[in-house]
Symmetry: none
Subunit: 234 residues, 2 copies
Amino acid sequence: MNARLSILVIEDDKAICSFITAALNGNGYRTVAAFTGREGLSLAASLCPDVVLLDLGLPDVDGHEVLQKLRCWSRIPIIVISARTEEQEKVRTLDMGADDYITKPFGTAELMARIRTSLRHSSGNFPETVYKTLNLEIHFDKRTVRLNGELVHLTQIEYQLLTLLAKNSGRVLTYNFIMKNIWGPYTDNNNQILRVNMANIRRKIEQNPAQPQYVFTEVGIGYRMRENDDFTPP
Amino acid sequence: MNARLSILVIEDDKAICSFITAALNGNGYRTVAAFTGREGLSLAASLCPDVVLLDLGLPDVDGHEVLQKLRCWSRIPIIVISARTEEQEKVRTLDMGADDYITKPFGTAELMARIRTSLRHSSGNFPETVYKTLNLEIHFDKRTVRLNGELVHLTQIEYQLLTLLAKNSGRVLTYNFIMKNIWGPYTDNNNQILRVNMANIRRKIEQNPAQPQYVFTEVGIGYRMRENDDFTPP
DNA sequence: GGTATTCTTAACACTATCTTTACATTTCAT
DNA sequence: ATGAAATGTAAAGATAGTGTTAAGAATACC
């Protein structure tokens, strides 16, 4: 059911590269190889892999530069592989945003374990307890929704859907993500049920459902909820 | 303003323990020490520290058991410290939910770097992944584009196109590369559709589409997006 | 067991988006 | 300068995606 996870290997030494990709394939991952930093950056952008393995000793661009460029726009887990064992080098690399630093030589089993650990990290987390904007308030701990101070009654699914969006407010959630989250991983790709629920929610909280203020449609992608007011960036 | 982060050190060797806590204190962390597994578990539960450092060689309970028990109820980052270097041991420990595995002897600088990395993972306060230049901001993880702070609505293809360029900012992407990336490998070599989309994007984000500030045309080659000037290391 | 609520499915109207066409404008070599 | 090639723009038809309604099925509640 779940699509296989894909891993981008950025490594100039073809022998090592094919060794690594073979090991990854053997463990059920899809792999894509890049032999230069430039190539790696483009592929990362177009493929959006689940993990990046980055060898620091590249011919064209400095590996650290690749790391830096990637971190400008992505939080994909990046596991750096390097021959250098000096502590300063490790510190520098980790502080530039690498998720792990493995020194050569290393065993494939350890590599696989560290990949699994990275994947664990990249799956999300959100702590907020109140969502509040315009005239809408959601208290997650009380499980209440208020519009202009008045309690709004939502059904189970409607509430789940609204809070999923609220906890990720400002961010577009894909139809698929929402479906999987609420109807479980084995639902088909039919959004009809989602559309109906959204229409019902809008009827309850929007003044004019045709011009929503709270939940917006991103055609072809999914829904996005208006950003939470008491959002305090770091 | 920010409360200092607290770290629980579970380590039976008092010499090593005081060495580590001293280093942590020197780096601004609050530390609590536990000399047995049992103690460590109860302290973790009562304190809810931000990170746990766990030595596997404990006298009373097996270190792996501590790890397992902790993971039953908590997702606190756990960094395991161990004298054992065998790969199987590392794999087992990581797969039981440890966030990192450091072998003795290790330097304090590396330990600190790995703690920072773990903290980044847990608190979700990853530096936001954005493209930013002049008055334009693209938030990749939210899938939003802002011009002068205002949300700009882009269609699916427009967004794909803009982010492909942004993720490769400063570099020329050929028409062919872009076409293949967005319309798939089997499209013909007709750029018309690409030109239309670029015109639409420019109408939405450029002040004067005839003299673009963000996406430049490289005649005969492709498009290039103004370089991201946002990079701020952690 | 009957009633009310909620969930799901299907049909259809409506809207946004995509693609194509036609033509204007710019660029560059001669 | 001039013309051919490349690029930009506008508009309209085709397509796909979304919202809405309503009716039957499933579930919970007396």
